[in-house]
């Protein structure tokens, strides 16, 4: 019996694979985009902030960062494990010198983007400390996206992590990582910033 099927050449295989790849990407892309929340903070608010942290890292930057994370430090190793699976990390955090320096509409706009897959898992309301809301995008049993909204009279923090996140692992990262504060006010010394970080941590730990 002769085989009438055409032999699978490299070109043929590519022709067959291309539509599959396109379809797969078309299916995956909206899911990844759905987990990405657009965090928009008006320039006027940013200008009013005494301290600013703005982190925008897509998948390629996360892979690059992963190569530079330490394997010896326990916290960094844990971060490295998590980062390898993520598609993006977006953080905006602002500290103000006075109360009510930002419009609550910023938070409402962020909340308004959450689709039906997003579930609020934690709400903390406090008159003295931070109000925190934690939302997760559930895909079956797995968390595919995370949004943290933390607002205080003098601080606004929005965190969006795209990809599978282990919440317990995230909460267990105790280290300061030796990071200097990414401040808008560059004249302030690192030590002063570290002290502020510690104070902030202690405030939350109380």
């Amino acid at each position: 019996m002769t085989d009438h099927r055409s032999p699978i050449t490299k070109g043929n295989a590519m022709k067959r694979l291309t539509p599959c790849l396109v379809i797969t990407l078309a299916l995956i892309a909206p899911v990844a985009l759905a987990q990405r929340i657009k965090i928009e903070v008006p320039e006027s608010v940013v200008a009013r902030a005494a301290e600013t942290v703005d982190v925008t890292l897509d998948a390629s930057m996360l892979r690059l960062a992963g190569k530079f994370l330490s394997n010896t430090d326990a916290d960094e190793r844990a971060v490295k494990d998590m980062v390898g699976k993520l598609e993006g990390i977006y953080v905006k955090s602002y500290e103000f010198d006075e109360d009510g320096a930002y419009d609550r509409g910023i938070v409402d706009k962020v909340r308004g983007q959450l689709g039906p897959n997003w579930k609020r898992i934690v709400t903390v309301q406090s008159r003295k400390k931070a109000n925190v809301e934690v939302y997760t995008d559930m895909r079956g049993e797995q968390i595919a996206g995370l949004l943290i909204i933390s607002d205080e009279p003098r601080e606004l923090t929005l965190v969006n992590i795209v990809g599978p996140v282990d919440l317990d692992k995230l909460a267990s990262l105790e280290g300061q990582f030796g990071i200097p504060r990414m401040s808008k006010d560059k004249d302030k010394g690192k030590d002063k910033d570290k002290d502020k970080n510690k104070e902030k941590e202690q405030g939350h730990d109380e």
Binding site: L57, L69, V91, V122, L146, L170, F177, I179
Partner: protein, 100 residues
């Protein structure tokens, strides 16, 4: 008359002996410095190595700087997210089980 005849005989046009041109060219080639080609190749390879090495080092330095910056940003992001999650967990625990 005799002198004229003698002069024209001595100064008459004569073709060069066979292979004269080749011999001249060979002598010219021999008179060139022997290792000129090798020196030129060495200089070219040194130049290429320097330029290539410089480009590679610059590229590596840029990549390292980008990587370090990305690393710091990842750590800052996880530091903030971790602190908020810990705070939320603690507050929930306090509310649910009255954990001080």
């Amino acid at each position: 008359m005799e002198l004229e005849r003698e002069l024209s005989r001595v100064l008459r046009r004569e073709p060069p002996p066979a292979g004269f041109a080749e011999r001249v060219m060979d002598r010219i080639a021999e008179s060139r410095p022997r290792h000129a080609g090798a020196w030129r190749a060495l200089a070219a390879s040194l130049l290429l190595t320097t330029v290539g090495g410089g480009w590679f080092l610059h590229h590596e330095a840029v990549r390292r700087a980008e990587g370090e910056r990305a690393r710091m940003e990842v750590l800052a992001a996880f530091h903030i997210a971790g602190a908020k999650m810990r705070y939320a967990q603690r507050e929930v625990r306090k509310a649910v089980i009255g954990d001080p």
